[in-house]
Subunit: 417 residues, 2 copies
């Protein structure tokens, strides 16, 4: 009976801990087949440095609370393994650590880059003769993994952006007579416009609201954009612009990169929201406000999508079940079975088909003018934001768990990354 | 039996419509004493331009839904009446409109500037001989009105900031090993640091988190601030900075005013968050992320404080009851009766004591080093964020009401503002 290694990688989400919960609870239910679950402190770095957390020291209650706790309870990392050829010493170290702690199962919870790391670890068996079963648990707010219909983490950020866009647009509607006419909200998504698309859900048949979306998939056309905003303001008196951080001009440059300097000549950090707001002010002479959601959007467990929480848990659970069947180099993927009512199941994807590939918004999901979402896109997105899954509160604040995260006693010497 | 005029003024909040609900439902309960409630479209401008909304055309269900709908359902305005001496024509116009629509009660829902407008309207009786009873309904996210223990609208933004700061700090904690070490969140409050203070609630005995706060009441000291951040990062590995938009340097200049220029020499809009983040990067060489909450914070009805919703409703209700007793030039104020358990009641404040005065954070609410809140401040703030009051959802989104807002037939000629 082998122990398992689990770690979190890349940008965290509101529900990555729900996947951790799924992995750990499922492993605990198979005590005859899996020993302990050791978590890597800060992702794969925890494996390389033998910095392991003994999750068996955590109570059932604490593990259950992961389900409603955002961010990465064991710490994450941005660290990509090189190939076995390039950095053989790292892989030998991994084997050394796994052997020392009797680890036979490897679960890695992350996005595209992390799937690549997981794929490389899965090759330890075949290439270096260490028996390991490696299963990737999908996670990314960017929703850009292939094969799977959607990615755990995305539904919650989509719900947050849809709800926030609706709320802020009602605000600007109230102010438009004498003050703010345009509200600009910057959202994540450097390459793919999935999160920006969620802003389009703010407006529906219940409540029509003018929302103009700027996608990274569509080259920014200033004149067309200003015309679109002016038309919305003419019709409604106000409008909201949801802009992806990754929007680029026709020259391929990020709009956020404006070479800003302060009065002292210091290079200044930009966001794309102030660039868009400045444009609206300069060219249309409209009052504006702007917001940058940044981490707030992906950490917002308080308004997580219930569907997302269920799927995050289910992928964690399925990963353990696949590992127990000896399936190496795979990933649980979400398959949409039906649209109305929305039904889904977990399938198994080959990791080689997942790693290092990005899924962009199909052109058919973006309206002809490039500033909105189509009905097809709406039908894709809506099921993913269904249901609320409120965390418990104490004293006015969500009661998020902090684990003890007790280290496993080291058996090996130091390793330099 | 006279009709009533109700209007919303200044920046809107997550619960100003709950006050509207309190006013309208209470007036409806006193049908023998108050006629119709006419709402001003876009605040006092609706009165001046005779642009009145007949709220009697709205169903009981629609009015009840105001309780969970953010922003200003009738439109707000930023428009301050001059004194009767300076602009007599405006006051004569108000009388003309009130007379034409048989209005004897005036309810104005706003902050300090709006209290001034309400006070001026209350003088119509004495100064210009038109019998009116004017009652102000307090509202401001800034929590800066005097007399009242706190302001409706503040508790919800405080809850949003406390929750969001907790969530984003868990996020940066996860990322700190290889990536982001400092997260900067810009919040509202140009003059008073009440909202920034709410960031301090994110950390408590349940969950200790390093949060450094920058208040507008404390002149920014760069060296001291950088030392504070460096110390937090040394101890925890990461930290969050909650910065009020109104933070100024020792020279009295807003930190946000950095004279930014883009590569083309265009003046660029700044926020204070990127300034602080840039400083942390330049001087401490720490990776960072930054967010600007802007309208999201004050529109976030999805995570409103239940206490705040109750108080917003109660002040609206009390305003009508005071008016029915003929009390002119007053405002329902919240009085804290006991701390544990938190109990409060509505008292009556004289409007002349409220208008044009700002309440800043007492120095005793800010920690000695100027970067945190004291226990006294915590005890003041905590009751205000208690309880959740979730709106109903449909199809994954909060079901906010949009009223019919049918206009009252005009009886008078045009009036130029």
């Amino acid at each position: 009976m082998k122990n398992a290694f689990y770690a979190q990688s890349g940008g965290v989400t509101a529900v990555i801990n729900a996947s951790a919960c799924g992995v750990i609870e499922t492993a605990r239910r198979h005590k005859g087949k899996i020993g302990k679950v050791f978590a890597g402190r800060n992702g794969i770095i925890g494996a390389l440095t033998e910095d392991l957390i003994d999750t068996s020291k955590e109570s059932a209650q604490a593990i259950a609370a992961l389900r409603h706790t955002p961010a990465g309870a064991f710490g994450s990392c941005r660290y990509k393994l090189k190939s076995i050829e390039e950095h053989r010493a790292q892989y030998e170290r991994l084997i050394e650590v796994f052997r020392a702690h009797d680890i036979g199962y490897f679960f890695y919870n992350g996005g595209g880059d992390s799937a690549d790391t997981c794929l490389k670890v899965s090759q330890l068996s075949e290439r270096l003769g260490y028996p390991i079963v490696a299963v990737h648990v999908p996670k990314t707010v960017d929703n850009d993994l292939p094969i799977t219909d959607n990615c755990p983490g995305f539904g919650s950020v989509a719900k947050y952006i849809a709800v926030s866009t609706r709320e802020a647009t009602l605000d600007v509607a109230s102010m438009a007579k004498t003050s703010t006419r345009v509200f600009v909200l910057e959202v994540m998504g450097r390459h793919a416009g999935w999160i920006a698309a969620a802003g389009g859900l703010a407006s529906d048949r219940d409540l029509e609201l003018p929302v103009v979306i700027l996608f990274p998939e569509i080259a920014f056309d200033q004149a067309k954009f200003l015309g679109r905003v002016a038309a919305a303001v003419k019709k409604f008196g106000y409008c909201t612009v949801v802009v992806s951080e990754g929007v680029k001009g026709a020259d391929g440059q990020f709009l956020a990169d404006q070479g800003l300097r302060d009065a002292f000549g210091h290079a200044q950090l930009g966001g794309v929201a102030p660039v868009i707001a400045g444009l609206v002010k300069r060219e249309l002479n409209l009052k504006h406000h702007w917001a940058v959601a940044d981490y707030l959007q992906r950490a917002a467990r308080h308004i997580a999508s219930k569907t997302d929480v269920l799927q995050a848990y289910a992928t964690g659970k399925a990963a353990v079940e696949m590992a127990l069947k000896g399936r190496n180099a795979v990933m649980p993927a979400i398959k949409r079975i039906s649209q109305r009512p929305y039904r889904w199941k977990i399938e198994m994807a080959e990791l080689k088909d997942v790693a290092n590939r990005e899924k962009f918004m199909p052109r058919g999901f973006i309206s002809a003018d490039g500033f909105g979402i189509t009905e097809k896109c709406r039908q894709y997105l809506l099921p993913l934001i269904q249901g609320e899954d409120y965390p418990p509160y104490r004293n006015g604040l969500p009661r998020y768990v902090r684990l003890k995260n007790m280290g496993v006693k080291k058996k090996l010497g130091e390793f330099r990354l």
